[in-house]
Symmetry: C2
Subunit: 136 residues, 2 copies
């Protein structure tokens, strides 16, 4: 089978980059049209290819779960408006730069309190000498 | 607004538990019906409430992206069958135990090589003395 691992950085081969985003003091976190628009804008600015967006609103809190499935993996948001908090994940492969999403989130959700943790998913091969998972 | 933070553990209040699952040496990772069934079974065994499942298959690799939106957040899988690898996320709030999913993944995808990282999302209040994010 053709080997098409998605991302490389130096000698590191990996499947994708996953940003774990903690957003506090955010606004509009119970607005379906707003969060749909934010997801669309994030997909666009990252240069990803949108396959589907789904949003669901919960009562009585007004919290929203939204997932954009993109060709390069997914972007999700789960909001707790009663705490002005949203858990946002941006999982991408290939040449996509997920950090381009951050200014959009800051601006559209009016948050100045965003923390980010970056994970590499599916780390395959670190150096020529130290194989984590052998190529088949 | 009513305060309904989803999860507590001792003095820790937080929005949800997020398992980052790295699955290697897995089988059936290019089978849409298989991965749909796995997502359904994981939702069921965790006692979560399914809202929607979406799966997309990519060519030429045969990789699949699947997301189950649940009332308690989401479960996602992205597979790279050419490396027998899948990135799986289980993000839940409330009393759901996401670890119940692991034996299902092991059995159904025939993998004996699963690593798990657990994250708490939206950590709100650690002790009475040390407030991370103040209640409104």
């Amino acid at each position: 089978m053709k080997k098409e691992f998605c991302s490389t950085k130096g000698n590191i081969k990996f499947a994708g980059t996953h940003l774990i985003i903690e957003l506090w003091n955010g606004k509009y976190l119970s607005s379906l049209p707003k969060l749909r628009k934010v997801l669309q804008e994030v997909v666009k600015i990252c240069g990803a290819t949108l396959l589907k967006i789904d949003l669901h609103k919960f009562s009585p809190s007004g919290g929203i779960s939204g997932v954009a499935i993109i060709k390069e993996s997914h972007i999700s948001i789960h909001s707790w408006p009663e705490y002005e908090y949203a858990a946002i994940d941006i999982f991408v492969c290939g040449d996509i730069d997920p950090y381009k999403a951050i200014p959009v989130l800051e601006k559209r959700l009016e948050s100045k309190n965003i923390q980010i943790v970056e994970l590499k998913r599916g780390v395959f091969n670190v150096t020529e000498d130290k194989i984590i998972h052998k190529e088949k």
